[in-house]
Amino acid sequence: MAFLRGWIYRPAQERPTTSGLVVLTNDRWNQTMLRVGVVPVRTAVAPFDIPYSVALPGGTHVVASRLVAPHVEGGLLGLVEGALDATTLAAVEDRLCAFLQIPELLRPAPRPAPPLGDATRYAAWSEVHRAGPEVDGERKRRIVVSPNPWNAVSGMATFVRTTTSFAGHGDEFPQVQGGAGHACCGDATTFELRAVLLQRRDRPVPHSTTLHDMVAIARGLAVTHGLEEAVRRAGTSLH
């Protein structure tokens, strides 16, 4: 089944608070990839998700701060339920753009929010962690792209994976850490902190990445998740 940007798909199996999943990755991505970027339609919204949520008729909410990238045949995405109208889709794009701090990062002199409280207790923006499930005996290196105020209270963080096995050239796979690897922006996904190695001794070196890398990742996320118009609406541009 083809997955299309802006369309809502039912969860393949019933989930406690999620009634749908809205595809946000661009349709070239959706045509070719094994995984697509989605945000949930939820019946309940946590306080920390409210700034990134858009209300739908019927009392549900699209929550842009819960971005995940399920496998298209992984038993999470079910049948199509409908599509967001253009105005709602634009509002969701704006929330995701704000969540990923893309407008701020694309400004001439970006100043992202600093960590809040004890930043050793959560995964902070721009840090590099081993996170997600083990693959071939190790957790992959991932860079935190979610904002610190949300990271500090949600018990989650959103990551892009870095890779040395794929060296594609394009905004979607920016070089990071001095060219040591590429960030896979289209795979951006959110994990609970139990899937993240937070201890400093478990973290890869370098422990964090540069502002320059984060700007390149922001640009990549805008392309993979179709946020170009949202970037324009926020008064900034990709190039």
């Binding site: 991505w29 070719t32 094994l34 992984g74 999470l76 997600g132 979607e172 795979d187």
Partner: protein, 92 residues
């Protein structure tokens, strides 16, 4: 001065009959208000055509990049493992 600038930016081209006849009657189709001049409609058509050409090239490049990434073995393994984690977690 304005006249000289105008001469430099204008080109004379042949426009096929259907476009010459129909396009000026429907300026709203290219995002312009009713009553827009013929030359402005044709100018906008050219802009839209050029944007479409650039977009088509970008989309071809994107597709070949994405196809290459889709074949990356590490990406395939991570996609499956991440999916299991997403299903187990309470994120969605």
């Amino acid at each position: 001065m304005p006249k000289r600038r105008s001469v430099r930016t204008r080109v004379s081209i042949a426009i096929s009959e259907p476009i010459r006849q129909e396009a000026p009657r429907h300026p709203e189709l290219v995002g312009l208000p009713r009553g827009t001049s013929r030359s402005r409609v044709f100018e906008r058509l050219l802009e839209l055509g050029w944007e479409a050409v650039l977009r088509a090239r970008r989309e071809r490049e994107q597709l070949s990049l994405y196809v290459a990434y889709a074949q990356d073995a590490e990406q395939q393994a991570v996609a499956r493992a991440d999916n299991d984690e997403i299903r187990r977690s309470g994120v969605v």
